[in-house]
């Protein structure tokens, strides 16, 4: 797997610490790392290439800032550009009434569940939604939507005899009008973008019901084909938005960038779980961090909230937010971490450590780390900066490890701190605001 992008950029850019300016030449290696990171996050090859070119243009000529590692400076530029790209466009829904929404996508992407989730959300916003079952192919697809509609107390329309999808759509529309529903969500069958018959069918449905919104529902873990899928659906149906599903998993979500770049449609919603409430509006900052593998403080804090006691979690979040998380806290957390489940998943969420693949003996490693920190004085844990050569030697001896291990730990910790500092300032302020909001409402804003 891949080291954290920041770390890699750090080493690619190390040579010109203090050099003064970012240039094409001194950035070449770093940009290769960026490209690799994007490809590893499943961003489409061409989209990654264009993105890197754009970032390069932005970076070249910039002064290397004092006190900020060049790697972090570049990551910040990249991050901000990604946020801009991902967040572009109007991501709220049309205000038309009645509001007609057509849900389309590949097989198994989550259309039916998302239809019900959207219905629930719009009901909360004061609409009277009707969900229409237009998937006449997959066994029991109609039943699935009907059950969800009942559960959420949404009006429901189906025709279990007809296979004429446009006619079903028209009838659903008429039913909605007759019964005073002002929002109609059409759930359609999964289809391949290269299936001429099924694409013709959904085009006909589109022509008949004239939707105000056409939402492509796409699995957040989609690979390189995402661009072709999005392009074909967009050409056929003029998409108005994207719903990215299964983002409660750990997919990096690069497909979203591909789709966004190719079809130029805004990302409107994020599916974050199997329950109908697990449906969020979209925050570009979070997705950008995730694509870049920059760690996800929000998820880490949330997971901690589920497992660790709340006071502890809040304290930790606060410390991370203020970037005054010291080795003392690190030790305390390590002892808590065992409760959180797999070490790997926790490390993945640490700022600056995402993507670091733990070796099989990571538990043993953790014991060593614990020993190292325990061999430090309280003061040293609070202010690792004071750890000079002789102190480090004492600690190494005390914990029975080599001095390089002590150095490694301190370096990693330092990177983590820098990452937190970076997220504290500038472009990621919004993310911190979200974190605060989340802290207070303790909502389900995963990812």
């Amino acid at each position: 797997m891949f080291e954290s992008l920041t770390e890699k950029l750090g080493s690619a850019l190390r040579n010109f610490r203090g050099v003064g300016q970012l240039t094409d030449a001194n950035m070449a290696d770093a940009l290769k790392e960026v490209r690799t990171a994007l490809l590893a996050a499943d961003v489409h090859f061409k989209v990654a290439r264009d993105f890197v070119e754009r970032v390069q243009t932005q970076c070249v000529g910039q002064q290397v800032l004092k006190g900020v590692a060049p790697g972090q400076q570049v990551v910040k530029i990249i991050h901000d550009e990604l946020v801009r790209l991902l967040g572009e466009g109007e991501n709220s829904l049309s205000t038309a009434r009645p509001l007609k929404i057509l849900m389309v996508g590949l097989h198994g992407s989550g259309k039916t569940t998302s239809s019900a989730k959207l219905g629930k959300l719009l009901k909360k916003r004061g609409y009277r939604p009707l969900v229409a079952a237009c998937d006449v192919y997959r066994p029991a697809a109609i039943d699935q939507l009907e059950i969800l509609a009942k559960q959420e107390e949404l009006a429901f329309y189906s025709d279990r005899v007809s296979k004429d999808v446009p006619a079903i759509g028209a009838a659903a529309l008429a039913t909605a009008q007759a019964t005073g529903c002002d929002c109609i969500i059409f759930d359609t069958a999964g289809r391949l973008q290269i299936d001429p018959e099924l694409i013709a069918e959904v085009k006909k449905l589109h022509a008949v019901v004239q939707p105000d919104e056409v939402l492509l529902v796409a699995d957040g873990a989609l690979g390189q084909e995402a661009v072709n899928v999005a392009k074909a659906f967009h050409d056929a149906l003029a998409l108005t938005g994207l719903v990215l599903t299964k983002m409660d998993g750990d997919a990096r979500g690069g497909a979203a960038l591909s789709i966004k770049s190719i079809a130029q449609v805004p990302i409107k919603f994020i599916g974050t779980g199997e329950k109908t409430a697990d449906f969020d509006t979209f925050y570009p900052e979070r997705l950008a961090s995730r694509i870049l593998g920059m760690g996800d403080v929000v998820s880490l804090v949330e997971k901690a909230q589920e497992t660790i006691d709340h006071k502890e979690a809040e304290k930790m979040a606060e410390k991370m937010r203020k970037a005054d998380f010291d080795l003392e806290d690190f030790l305390a957390q390590m002892q808590q971490i065992k409760k959180l489940g797999s070490m790997q998943s926790i490390v993945g969420m640490m700022p600056g450590m995402s993507g670091v693949q733990l070796p099989d003996d990571s538990e043993k490693q953790m014991a060593r780390t614990e020993a190292i920190i325990k061999s430090m004085t309280k003061q040293e844990r609070r202010k690792p900066d004071i750890l000079n050569g002789s102190r480090r030697k004492r600690i190494a001896d005390g914990s029975g490890v080599k001095i390089v291990e002590v150095n490694q730990l301190l370096k990693q910790f330092q990177q983590m701190q820098q990452m937190m500092k970076m997220m504290k300032g500038g472009g990621s302020k919004k993310m911190m605001k979200q974190l605060e909001a989340m802290q207070s409402q303790r909502g389900k804003l995963r990812f």
């Binding site: 690799t36 490809l39 590893a40 996050a41 499943d42 489409h44 090859f45 061409k46 590949l106 097989h107 198994g108 992407s109 989550g110 192919y137 997959r138 066994p139 029991a140 697809a141 039943d143 699935q144 009907e146 059950i147 969800l148 559960q151 391949l192 973008q193 290269i194 699995d219 873990a221 989609l222 690979g223 390189q224 084909e225 072709n228 899928v229 299964k246 409660d248 998993g249 750990d250 997919a251 990096r252 690069g254 497909a255 199997e274 489940g341 797999s342 998943s345």
Partner: protein, 306 residues
């Protein structure tokens, strides 16, 4: 360059994808140059092979190119195919019956990957081979999942043991095994609820299904297959790794390869976990399940004909 997977079905017949069309010349008789190497790189990445495999294939082609500047497209394709074949050596799964019937096959995977459809297709396939099969509807969680498998059972005239949504999935598995055993069936195919690999509590449910089956037969389920959506990218490797860690997988089924995705992530999964690939899903109908063949896969990917 990339022939389409339809070729599996149509005996290497027609369809050429957009990429295949674009890179067609590349693997023809033309001499390789820098720009065709870049096109090649693009084609490999866009097949979801990932960084490792792509760079390995490129490196070998570049080495050959350095030795012989008149290297032709077809030779380059042959090198790529050879690298891929080497990487996939041993990846073909071979479904064998267990020592004592029923042989239990559990379908597991993330939401919407194709478990239920694959369970039905596989049951049908085994039935065509003269085997007797029982289906167990152990997705008692998702709305209408039980009805979905029941509909397949009726459509294909298959035997099924099912309860209702909300029932205990492990009990359904327990009962289904008993039914299959008492009726002397060869296979029991267990459909399970979709779950993301990141949810440890849901992983526990799978472990419970297994424990309960083992009360009947300590070796059951003998086959624990991850059903992976072939249109996904690198995350499917992560899915496989985590499911394997917590459930001990024995193989893979890769679905939805009738689309334009070339399912390159399966190469990554094989390289990292060495889980054999048993079948590929190539459509929504009962007959759209094909045994995985390294040879066919590699040929389809590189657009090589027999």
């Amino acid at each position: 360059m990339f022939g389409l997977f339809k070729k599996f079905k149509d005996g290497f017949a027609k369809t050429v994808t957009a990429i295949a069309a674009k890179t067609h010349g590349l693997f023809g008789a033309r001499i390789i140059d820098a720009s065709s190497l870049e096109t090649l790189e693009e084609a490999l990445y866009t097949a979801d092979f990932g960084v490792e495999t792509t760079e390995e294939i490129l490196a070998e082609i570049k080495t050959a190119y350095k030795k012989d500047a008149t290297l032709h497209g077809q030779q380059a394709a042959a090198i790529g195919a050879a690298v891929l074949k080497r990487a996939l050596a041993g990846a073909e799964g071979d479904l064998r019956p267990a020592a004592s019937a029923p042989t239990v096959i559990a379908m597991i995977g993330v939401n919407g990957s194709g478990k239920t459809t694959t369970a039905a297709k596989l049951a049908w396939r085994l039935k065509q081979d003269g085997k007797t099969v029982t289906l167990a509807a152990c997705d008692t969680f998702r709305a209408a999942a039980v009805e979905q498998l029941k509909t397949w059972a009726i459509r294909l005239d298959l035997e099924i043991v099912a309860s209702h949504t909300g029932a205990d999935s492990a009990s359904v598995a327990f009962d289904a095994w008993q039914a299959a055993k008492s009726r002397g069936r060869d296979y029991l195919i267990v459909d399970t609820a979709g779950r993301l690999h990141t949810k440890s509590n849901l992983m526990e449910e799978l472990a419970k299904i297994r424990r309960v089956l083992q009360k009947h037969d300590p070796t059951a389920p003998q086959h624990r297959w991850l059903v992976v959506d072939g249109s996904l990218g690198s995350n499917s490797i992560e899915q496989a790794r985590v499911f394997h860690q917590s459930f001990g997988l024995t193989g893979l089924v890769v679905t939805k390869l009738d689309g334009t995705s070339r399912g390159g992530a399966l190469v990554g999964i094989w390289r990292q976990l060495k889980l054999p690939i048993y079948f590929l899903g190539l459509g929504e109908q009962a007959e759209d399940l094909q045994p995985f063949s390294v040879d066919n896969y590699v040929k389809a990917v590189f657009g090589l004909e027999d």
